[in-house]
Subunit: 716 residues, 2 copies
């Protein structure tokens, strides 16, 4: 009987997808405005589509190779680890579906966003509130597509394995973790590729346009302006969609894998039901994102908060009956655990939800220009560029404390209130119950991702709308309105990224534990995972430098690509007669082309790192080294992610704060210093920073899938 | 009989100190040049002495408080952990001597340096080679004072405990680790306080002088110029001396503590003998640092390399008979291990020496302007300040890979060739032998610190000499010569810092293992140090954010202090009539005063962090959390240290490369961008970066000393 309740997951997914469809129809009903606006929007759309097509073509090749490898591994069972062969044989196919849905979520989000940008600009010429409505609707599509497909993919596989192949709960739980490989691979390419594209274009456009030539942002005379707007869509929209799909799916998958020692169907049912409740709660929440016709920016933020808090509240309240329901109908050890401690498990879910809000609070505190840190950063422009740089870096490093300790404390508390005890054996049932608590907390955190992502994904649409307003020479007030939306989006974007890295912090632990379990099965002996054991400690070092090296690769990719854009833009300004005067048209396509080529070429190295390091470590240091390495990537990656995203966000908003007329305002020396800060922050916050969570899960997924191979061929 | 061989340690220390004394007499024989030069030197000397006096006054108060606490703990044995009460009662006194010698080393180095600067300038007016000779002699004093006092302090305590209190080898080994608290505390204050002073003055002077007003570096019209030169002495000389004293002492102490399970006197004798051999080898090496009268910069670097390589070679060769000697005369388990595997232990020493050279190579590769990375960084100035920033940050992050993996691999290989096996119990004798191998490798690394520090400490002297040459308006060629020396010093300084963080990487493992041993004794049960155990993993997170937070605190201290200096310098340029024209004198003292006050106030928070985090973690997460936390600080601190030191060094040299006439040369837009890079790099490479190794050892030392207290009062 219980197994039938899993169909609710399909129902929940369907609700999300239908809602997303309705919202996308709603967006399309609006007008794109003047012919010029429609034309610009079409240019952006074409560029984005062309990039996505080329990106997916590259990715398909990669997927084909890995698919073949996975098939080989599936038929040489010892190479694949010691667990069930049946489920493993589905891993190659799950790899494909995971990659497919991840890519599809990003693609749909991009499609809607590129259709919503001109419409938002046009709506904003009526009122700020209307602009918000269009862009937020477009964001909603992205949010619900991600949770819908995420839940669909997981539940469908679960049902297929159960009904067609009669798999057991334990088998599915262990296998699902491996399914994450496709999701994480796709997310990596989308995030890193898109991130390089968008920031190369943005940095290149700003450096020459704003700093050297002195024309405003999004000025149509800037040859990189279309590339910049395309970048928003392929990076901040499609890349982010793929990224958050990954975070969402992994939170659920990880819970499947945690507590595997005490497993029964109930252990998998609870995260599915919480996710469904979260979808409905998010859906209700979206209806409360509205304001009076003449709203200011503050009331807009309040209305966004209203929607997300309400959704979180509904999700929290509905978790209570769901937890007790699952407790009542569960059997075996898991059932006993739930029956004796349903309140504890419920508490863990609440802790997850609260820690999501807390992370959001911390990010907002450090990046919003209404607070002291960003204000002080803006003030440091008074003493020049160098102090802006130093100030931003130290701000971001300070900001790591809150989110990291929140996740750490939340994980610890979830562990204990779910019945875990320290100093116990790994497979002890109390320890397993504690781990399950950590997993379910992460499901609580991402449950309302639907609305959170919506409040996040509308930002780039507003940003694009501003660009179109500028290029189509709409009245100044339209640009002011889209700027207000954009700035709002900046804050919510930081929150969204905090969400995904926070969720990853939880699920990373789950993946680590799964890896240990599989490796011990595969080796037939216990691992010595004491931190003072040299292979573990050295693994930690390897993991930490991997995170730093990954950051270096992604930032320097932007750096190099941006330099090519700078050179191209300078060339056009020099060679195209009448460009500066507005009598000749810039060659937009060449900048788009440079960004596309750079992004596709430079996304390879960072992505491969997540494959080569785990396999290399496994071969040289065996499973113990791999565990250390994964732990190192998690802790360093988490801290670096928060550091880079917060520094970047704060620099961006400090610049906006100055542009609003403080510390000399636009055009002053202080403003120039702040623009440089913002430029440095761009690859921090939109390329490297948000890629760390994927690095974490992808390297875990690679380790899991290749555990058999590495333990078989290890030197140690 | 064997115990008498320890007197050789006293002899070695005496040789080092006598040599240092002779060198300092030699420096003083040179003339300070013109009256004006002597006057400037006196100004600098007075400022430096005044700062040091105030710094030590603050530190004495701190030491008094901790001394009282340690005395209390010593008389309430259960709070102090379960090990021998006898030795613990000496911990408060060893705390004082450690702090005293650390501070004294820095002070003597500063004293000689402030006496050598004008003399170097004067000698450089004759020839480059003469300038090198004076500044290098002054550096030699610092180098040999550090190793002399370091070896003296350790050996003397060992002999006192043995002969007056009849302590056993095991007892001494365990107690010595706690003695590191005084050394690390003093080093922390000296490094952080001095680091804030020097960079606040430097950044402040450059921002207004070079960037805004457009006067050359060290121009006497700049009100912060004396503060800048004082800073070189209290930060780059005294701070570095204290820092390297700490790294040196900890390498030896850590080896005392490692392999404690198989202990005998032989285990302690070997590191002492290797250190003595290293002192003699360094002494010989110094005689080979000389060139022909008309030397160019390249041949100077070659002659420095000649000295250090020769010293390393002599130390390596002499390690062979010493190892076999100790093997022959050692008894018990340690004797058996040595006799069956003397070659392995010898190999570990060689690995230590080689890894020191390798770390030096990597740092040089990334920071020297003769190589691709720094050249590319200089080239990125063509596209503006932002690309210089992004380029420098990614360069530093990339550079973490080499040194960190070198230490990791060296530790792993040392562990295995010394007879260690993975997956064994901690107290197993093979595991202990492996750990001993890691310890002895770190002793090999620091053995020739005498000459390495000498090649490092001459840099700031040359820097000061350049300042004096500029202020005393000596001919242009003098300044060119001191600049050549300064630039040479930049490269060797990066190497020196790499040395100290590398040595710390090794000894951190030793401290970790000591902590585990003590905590298990204190708790009477085994710890579950599996990385997947939530308290351990959460401890890891805490450690990582501690490292980031520490970086933020030190950088932002410089940031704020520099802003005050900027404001003061701007004020003077505005208010003092005739300052710019050279008719009125700047008020140097006020800038010195601002830097002093800022440094003393701002050094408190980062230093306290190393006390509060270990104690707090112990109380909240017990010993398991502390182990995770320490591991987290080690891995993140190591990577951050290399990142920040390399970025800073590369920015500095990229600027110098441009100043040498490339990419537009001095005064161009490219140069301005590079100057900003250099300014941002200043607190990276001279404040935060080189402080991490102290953070690592200090937090370990605090954990060790307070293990009894935290386990007694822990919540878990």
């Amino acid at each position: 009987m219980m197994i039938n309740l899993f169909w609710l997951g399909i129902v929940g997914a369907a609700i999300a997808l239908v809602f997303a469809y309705i919202q996308s129809r709603r967006v399309l009903k609006y007008s794109e405005g003047s012919e010029r606006m429609a034309e610009i929007a079409a240019d952006i759309r074409t560029g984005a589509k062309a990039y996505m097509k080329r990106q997916y073509t590259s990715v398909v090749k990669f997927f084909a190779v890995v698919f073949v490898i996975l098939c080989l591994l599936a038929f040489i069972p010892p190479l694949f680890g010691a667990d069930s062969g049946l489920v493993n044989r589905f891993a190659p196919f799950a790899f494909i579906t995971g990659g497919f849905f991840t890519g599809l979520s990003g693609y749909i989000g991009m499609k809607v966003a590129t259709n919503a940008n001109a419409r938002t600009a046009n709506a904003a010429s009526e009122s700020l509130n209307k602009g918000l409505r269009v862009s937020f609707s477009s964001g909603t599509v992205m949010g619900f597509v991600v949770v819908g497909f995420g839940l669909l993919d997981i539940t469908a596989w679960l049902l297929v394995l159960r009904f067609f192949f009669n798999a057991e709960a334990l088998e599915i739980g262990q296998a699902m973790v491996k399914f994450g490989l496709g999701v994480a691979s796709m997310a990596m390419f989308a995030r890193v590729g898109g991130g390089i594209f968008t920031k190369a274009a943005d940095v290149g456009a700003d450096l020459v346009g704003k700093v050297e030539v002195g024309i405003p942002e999004d000025d149509p005379r800037n040859p990189a302006v279309i590339a910049d707007n395309v970048g928003d869509n392929v990076g901040d929209v499609a890349g982010m969609g793929a990224d958050l799909y990954e975070a969402y799916a992994h939170a659920i998958i990880a819970t499947f894998a945690l507590g595997v020692g005490i497993y029964s169907w109930g252990g998998m049912l609870l995260p599915i039901l919480i996710s469904v409740a979260g979808i409905i709660a998010s859906l209700i929440g979206t209806f409360f994102v509205r304001t009076k016709e003449q709203a200011d920016q503050k009331s807009l933020l309040r209305s966004l908060h209203m929607g997300t808090f309400l959704a979180a509240g509904i999700a929290a309240v509905s978790a209570l009956p769901l937890t007790f329901l699952v407790a009542r109908i569960s059997e075996g050890e898991f059932g006993e655990m739930m029956q004796s401690n349903a309140w504890g498990i419920f508490g863990a879910i609440i802790i997850g939800i609260i820690s999501g809000l807390l992370i959001g609070y911390f990010t907002e505190y450090y990046t919003s220009d209404t607070n002291k840190p960003t204000r002080e950063l803006a003030a440091s422009s008074e003493t020049g560029t160098a102090t802006v740089m130093i100030g931003g870096i130290s701000l971001g490093m300070k900001a790591t404390v809150g989110p990291v300790l929140t996740v750490a404390a939340a994980a610890l508390i979830s562990f204990f209130i779910s019945g875990g005890h320290a100093s116990l054996e790994m497979m002890d049932s109390a320890f397993q119950a504690g781990l399950y608590g950590i997993g379910i907390a992460s499901v609580g955190l991402v449950a309302t991702l639907g609305i959170n992502l919506a409040t996040d994904a509308f930002g780039p649409v507003a940003d694009n709308a501003g660009g179109i307003a500028e290029m189509a020479k709409l009245p100044e007030e339209v640009r002011q309105r889209t700027d207000a939306l954009d700035s709002l989006g900046n804050t919510t974007a930081a929150t969204g990224k905090g969400f995904s890295i926070g969720a990853t912090g939880f699920s990373a632990l789950a993946l680590l534990v799964s890896y240990v379990t599989l490796a011990e099965e595969s080796l037939g002996s216990n691992l010595n995972l004491t931190v003072t054991n040299p292979p573990v400690l050295i693994g930690l070092f390897i993991g930490v430098v991997t995170a730093f090296f990954f950051a270096a690769l992604t930032i320097s990719a932007v750096h190099k690509a941006a330099q090519s854009v700078v050179i191209e833009v300078r060339r056009q300004f020099k060679e195209i007669v009448g460009l500066m005067e507005g009598t000749a048209k810039a060659d937009y396509a060449s900048c788009v082309d440079i960004c596309t080529k750079s992004a596709l070429r430079k996304m390879v190295a960072p992505s491969l790192l997540a494959f080569l390091v785990p396999i290399g470590t496994g071969i040289f240091l065996d499973a113990e080294g791999v565990v250390g390495m994964l732990a190192g990537i998690v802790v360093a990656g988490f801290a670096l992610a928060v550091f880079m995203m917060t520094s970047g966000g704060a620099w961006d908003n400090a610049k906006k704060y100055i542009e609003a007329g403080n510390h000399g305002g636009k055009g002053s020396e202080q403003h120039k210093a702040a623009v440089i800060g913002d430029t440095v922050g761009d690859p921090f916050k939109d390329t490297a920073g948000p890629s760390f969570n994927i690095l974490i899960t992808l390297s875990s997924a690679v380790s899991l899938v290749f555990v058999g191979v590495t333990t078989a061929f290890s030197f140690l």
